[in-house]
């Protein structure tokens, strides 16, 4: 197992997450895709830290996880608000900013 294996897996998960973000209609589905992409990025960071034998990569991944938690809390709050105001959960039907 080398760094290539980890990076390959990370890229695959990142692409799957991007596919989810681009193709999902449900707002929470898009957030789940973003979570997958974050996860893939963290995996790549930890893999590179493992190969280079440094601990800094793990610290950055740790901070990334905490930032993701903050982001998902605000994102879900926005989802609840948008769902309440526009009575739909689908991202392509929410048009609150249309005049």
């Amino acid at each position: 197992m080398t760094i290539y294996h980890i990076l390959f897996l990370s890229y695959l998960v990142f692409s799957i997450g991007l596919f989810g973000v681009l193709s999902r209609r449900h707002v929470v589905g898009i957030l789940i895709g973003i979570e997958l992409m974050f996860n893939a990025a963290n995996l790549a960071i930890v893999g590179i830290a493992w190969t280079m034998q440094v601990l800094t990569g793990q610290i950055i991944a740790l901070f990334g996880i905490a930032i993701t938690a903050a982001e998902i809390a605000v994102g879900l709050a926005l989802f609840l608000l948008a769902e309440r105001l526009s009575k739909t959960v689908y991202a392509d039907k929410i048009d609150l900013m249309k005049g």
């Binding site: 197992m1 080398t2 760094i3 290539y4 294996h5 980890i6 990076l7 390959f8 897996l9 890229y11 695959l12 998960v13 990142f14 692409s15 799957i16 991007l18 596919f19 989810g20 193709s23 209609r25 929470v28 589905g29 957030l31 789940i32 895709g33 979570e35 997958l36 996860n39 963290n42 930890v46 893999g47 590179i48 830290a49 493992w50 190969t51 601990l55 793990q58 610290i59 991944a61 740790l62 901070f63 996880i65 905490a66 938690a69 903050a70 982001e71 998902i72 809390a73 605000v74 879900l76 709050a77 926005l78 989802f79 609840l80 608000l81 769902e83 309440r84 009575k87 739909t88 392509d92």
Partner: protein, 174 residues
Amino acid sequence: MQGQTIIYLILALGLLVSSIASVCSRRILRSAIFLAVALIFTAFLYLLLGAELLAGIQILLYVGGVITLIIFALLISEKLGSDQSEATHRNIIPAAIASTVLFLILLFFTYTSRRISELATSSPMGEFGASGELSELIFRDWVLPLEVLSLLLLAAIIGALVIARREHKQEGEQ
């Protein structure tokens, strides 16, 4: 070394299958559960890479916190599973093309990079027991980012509360 690769392959297969299931599932609640499975597989991969503290935090914060939040938000929102006939995906082919192109670009730059091929010649074993060193490093060299991060979390909590609050007061006044 051989055993490590076999464990890696099993975990990678599980991670890929649960990620694809999470992205493609028609029920959004099922999709959240598959995301939790994918995150647990990633935590085991962290264990394989010698990051045991990170694996614990991944399970605590992601699977325990984020997934719970997502499921709560889905259950609170009223439209859960109301009309199964409606399409859950749109623009599937352009999205597939875009993500495949991104994947190929990333692969190209990885396999042509000299720095990464230098890194790949050494493949160290995962080492456990770095947690003490890691926490020392966090609270000595990285203590300012840590404090800024706690401020960010506080701001996120307050922001989420303010955004998601139902505005009863204004309705009462009007």
